[in-house]
Amino acid sequence: MNNTIKSQRKKILITIIVLSFISLLLFFYKNSPPVLFFEGIVQNVFSAPKSILYTIGKKDIDKKVAELTKKNRELEAKMVDYQLLKRDNEALKSQFVTSGETTQSLVAAKIIGFQGNGKIPSQFIINAGKKEGLKEGMSVIFGKYLVGKIVTVGQNYSVVTTPFNEKFKVLAKLPETNANGIILGRSDLLLFDGVVITDTLKKDGIIVTKGEVDSRGIGVVPDLIIGKITSISKNETSPFQSAEVMPVIEYPKLIDVFVISQM
């Protein structure tokens, strides 16, 4: 009887060691074709139920609120457009320089999951991946708003870091005064940091992306709306000033987003 228990325990120990070894191998060879094939199948199977479940309860119940939110967003976008047009106009007038239009390619995706706090998620999982041609570093948008940047790409899913994520950073500017800085994620707010003290920051000013492209031609397009300045922190003895920024889009209500696959 004792021997049977001992042999059973030995079998279990061997099984656990073998499975641990296989797990370790798969962890190190996660980009090998069989692993990617398995990952693709699993992600395909769970894509529909996760998408349906994520959408439930996210649709605006109050149509009036939804309409007003939409109008508000449109006005904010128009305001930024106006400021950018004004600035461009001035530049064109003074320098008489014309610039060619950029062509963008967008990939539509649905949010199917999140990580972090439900109200201010630090990451989103979207149902588009390598098969749709997505790559790390691509920007994710909703209308004229920046939703985040892709950090991990799977076969059919990708992980997007939102500006709330502490690892998130993007070059930004305040078009109204042309103050440049960097947006940093601070878990429950965004920090517009590294702004030269001589630049002017205004409360309620709308912060947009400055635009950044890496050597692969992937990055964040300029003039995407990030958020509104809520408070300014300025110390005359310091060479830089910063401001707290609140995003203008409601992250928990987002469902459909777009990935800029070509800038």
Binding site: L24, L26, P49
Partner: protein, 141 residues
């Protein structure tokens, strides 16, 4: 037939766990289901099931493929080694090891730590309450 029923029930619970996790709640449901299986189903088929479940949740979460089975089997190895050298098969010790592993898992894979603390507090409270009721003969005769 009973085994098949248990298997089907586990399959449904696991499927729900995979779908709910990160979609509705940022809580390691699958890890906890697998931990319960590790504690009570000490069979080779059970371990293979846990292995597959771990890979499914890693594939769905996109990041750290292979991390969940590594955490689970790391805990299982600790439990087995403890049982081998102490000669005891205390469930409380095994549960404590799995609990510690769950905290490490939540920390490394960015799940909600506060939800896990609330969950463990509820589990401990329920266990204490059931023990008191059992002693008084209110439940389980």
């Amino acid at each position: 037939m009973t085994n098949l029923k248990y298997f089907l029930a586990l399959l449904i619970i696991s499927f729900l766990g995979v779908v709910l996790e990160t979609t509705v709640i940022n809580f390691p449901i699958v890890f906890l289901i697998a931990s319960v299986l590790l504690l009570f189903v000490k069979k080779i088929q059970g371990y293979i099931g846990i292995f597959i479940l771990g890979f499914i949740i890693d594939a769905v979460r996109v990041t750290n493929f292979g991390m969940t089975p590594l955490f689970l089997f790391g805990a299982a190895l600790c439990i087995l080694l403890y049982e081998k050298y102490s000669g005891s098969r205390d469930l409380v010790v095994a549960a404590v090891i799995l609990g510690a592993m769950a905290f490490a898992y939540v920390y490394f894979l960015s799940y909600s730590l506060s939800l896990l603390i609330v969950f463990f507090a509820l589990v401990v409270l329920t266990t204490i309450l059931l023990n008191i009721l059992k002693k008084r003969g209110v439940v389980f005769g």
